[in-house]
């Protein structure tokens, strides 16, 4: 009896251990744990840098170059591994998004991983509203693809994304170059302008809307061969005059200051 009891206890303990060994953190928990680790590494990095700065200021050695290296670099592989573990499912999205948002400014393998992450997000996960977090990346698909592929991926996003912001960025990705380069009096330019202004209506993306409108205004009013708006103002004696008073002459307009 005693032996059977001991065997049962051992079996239970063994089973519990096996079970514990098999318990895996949920994707959400894994993401939280990783981001917490990142935050800790970031704080430690900042503290060390502050110490080195103080030491340098007080006559110590100059700060070594590697002290400036981003503490996030080692984490890219961890987020990448998690994204691969959940590949093809929505659980991968937060890990891919983290890479896109944090690893693009890096170099080498990390930047490559970040670019791959963006590519995966805008194709496999193109219907996810999370793509809104990619912002400019969706508006610059030519940074991640060659011209033909960027166009295809963008058109798919315009058609299938449930997010009006993502669709607006994707439209910008498709027509941005035309707005920047096509002759202002061409049908191509007019069509691109009308398309992008239409998708920006009612979408709250202030940065994109303002930069697109500024770019269009710049091209239509200030590029070579275009007519800028008149200037009406006062001179340094307070007398009102306008630039159009001088129409018919060649005007050399100098924006100057006494610096």
């Amino acid at each position: 009896m005693k032996a059977r009891l001991i065997a049962a206890v051992l079996l239970t303990l063994g089973f519990a251990q096996v079970s514990y060994g098999q318990v895996e953190a949920s994707p959400e928990q894994r993401y939280q744990d990783l981001t917490a680790e990142v935050a800790g590494a970031n704080e430690a990095w900042k503290a060390r840098l502050a110490e080195l700065r103080d030491a340098e200021k007080n006559g110590g050695p100059p700060i070594p170059a590697d002290a400036f290296q981003s503490p996030l670099i080692p984490f890219v592989a961890k987020f990448d591994a998690a994204a691969k573990d959940y590949a093809g499912t929505s659980d991968a999205i937060p890990f891919l998004t983290w890479m896109a948002q944090n690893a693009l400014p890096m170099v080498g393998d990390q930047r490559k991983a970040a670019k791959d992450a963006v590519r995966t997000l805008v194709t496999t996960h193109r219907k996810s509203p999370s793509l809104e977090k990619l912002e400019w990346m969706v508006g610059r698909l030519d940074y991640f693809y060659d011209e033909k592929e960027a166009l295809e991926v963008g058109l798919q996003l315009e058609k299938e994304s449930p997010s009006s912001k993502v669709r607006a960025y994707a439209t910008f990705s498709r027509v941005g170059a035309t707005i920047n380069k096509a002759p202002v009096d061409s049908d191509e330019f007019r069509k691109a302008k009308s398309e992008i202004l239409k998708v920006l209506e009612g979408v709250e993306i202030d940065d994109l809307a303002s930069s697109v409108k500024t770019r269009i205004k710049m091209r239509e009013n200030f590029s070579l061969g275009m007519s800028p708006p008149d200037i009406v103002g006062v001179d340094l004696d307070g007398v009102e005059f306008s630039l159009s008073d001088y129409k018919g002459k060649v005007l050399f307009i100098d924006f100057w200051g006494d610096w």
Partner: protein, 108 residues
């Protein structure tokens, strides 16, 4: 500073279809002092306008100083940038096309 070059350009273009117009970004006292000190011989707008929320440079989408814009007689942009020599060459060519007199070259 560009003052000597621009002063001589204004003198060179006297009685020709040309005007050099400034848009000054300083506060008024400083701008007026600069005009006196440097014998500035062209008219300038004050960039900040009391009656308008935006300055002239903002309306003209201009964020780099100094910048030069050259307009032809039809009020069309022929140059926009920061290269005074290039702007001057463009202006001289346009004036010459307009009044039929040959364009002068710096130092001649």
């Amino acid at each position: 500073m560009l003052y000597p070059h621009e002063r001589s350009l204004v003198d060179e273009m006297k009685n020709r279809p040309f005007a050099l117009i400034g848009v000054n970004s300083d506060d008024l006292d400083r701008a007026q002092a600069a005009v006196r000190k440097n014998k500035i011989n062209w008219r300038s707008f004050q960039n900040q306008r009391k009656e308008s929320k935006t300055s002239i440079s903002e309306d003209w989408l201009l964020y780099t100083w100094p910048t030069i814009v050259v307009l032809d007689a039809d009020f069309k942009v022929c140059y926009r940038g920061g290269d005074c020599d290039e702007a001057t060459a463009v202006a001289r060519r346009l004036v010459s096309e307009l009044d039929g007199k040959p364009a002068e070259v710096d130092g001649q």
